[in-house]
Symmetry: C2
Subunit: 200 residues, 2 copies
Amino acid sequence: MSSQVRILASALGVALAGGLAAAAISHAAEKPAPALAYTADGKLVAPQNYRTWVYLSTGVDMAYLEGPPPSQHTFDSVFVDPASYAAFQKTGTWPDKTVMVLEVRKGQARGSINKAGVFQTDRVGVEYHVKDVARFKTDGWAFFPASGAPLPQDSACNKCHEQHGAVDTTFVQFYPTLLPKAQEMKTMSAAYLAEEAAAK
Amino acid sequence: MSSQVRILASALGVALAGGLAAAAISHAAEKPAPALAYTADGKLVAPQNYRTWVYLSTGVDMAYLEGPPPSQHTFDSVFVDPASYAAFQKTGTWPDKTVMVLEVRKGQARGSINKAGVFQTDRVGVEYHVKDVARFKTDGWAFFPASGAPLPQDSACNKCHEQHGAVDTTFVQFYPTLLPKAQEMKTMSAAYLAEEAAAK
């Protein structure tokens, strides 16, 4: 994280030296920093404030493959930048520059006065799914691990999301406040609709 | 819901007729509507936009009493108005006029490509916990069901939160992004700290 911040500072330094100082300062005064930004070497600048973004949903111990139950409960929660959420509410799909954050936390069964079920504790992982049509040519989207370069465009994540994501390669079928909007706006992918029809 | 809106419109009509029109319009232009508002007969005006507020955490099938496992999975998620979240980040406790929303959703195990674990589907309930020191004399807080009057100040909910809430009658022990701040600012209740010490 700190190395990414240093890289960003370096990149900003280059831009400012290039005579963009006045424009950058004016822009900063007008609106907050964009959700989507990269380091000079193409890594994602990890959004520091995603916990104040819009929450989409949480699953517990979800798995897309059959297997034994996990020894440790895990919660997956998804957040999206507010501007992209607002755009989805109007159009039923994602605008360019959408940033989605998957946060992974441990689950704990007993603690304080809790006697059953599971609640969230420590963060154990974070991943990003971003839409940048000019940069990611396959379907406009890329997955970034917590740090480092994006996954290859033909990664298992990309392929599964392309094949099964309800809207624009994203799992809107698991986001209960977005699914009705996608149904209303008829923005669900043909592959997803065929899959759902076959399952009935 | 629509009856609450009608009641609010009626209450606003009274205020405007009372000569507050100019002040109200000026105020509206300056900032968004406050999170906390009541109908003329003391019910809470249900916040319509809480899903864009700040998310605190989600538990699944949580219970504070022993009992058999539930036949239907249930997720509880908690949201708080952004201004109160920002205040908590500075002070480690809640300001007056805090509004917390508990949203209850069904959990589903199988669906789309999911093979294990549980994801969220339909909303089946919503409750509110609000801080209004001038109005609620016992500890400053009240619980509101989805519609209707607040629970009595000596309700089981109030008593349990007073006795076991880590910070200011709220279950910050289950909100992993707030707990470290409360620890840093030393805002946890004496009762909670004693309870945790006794459990070790």
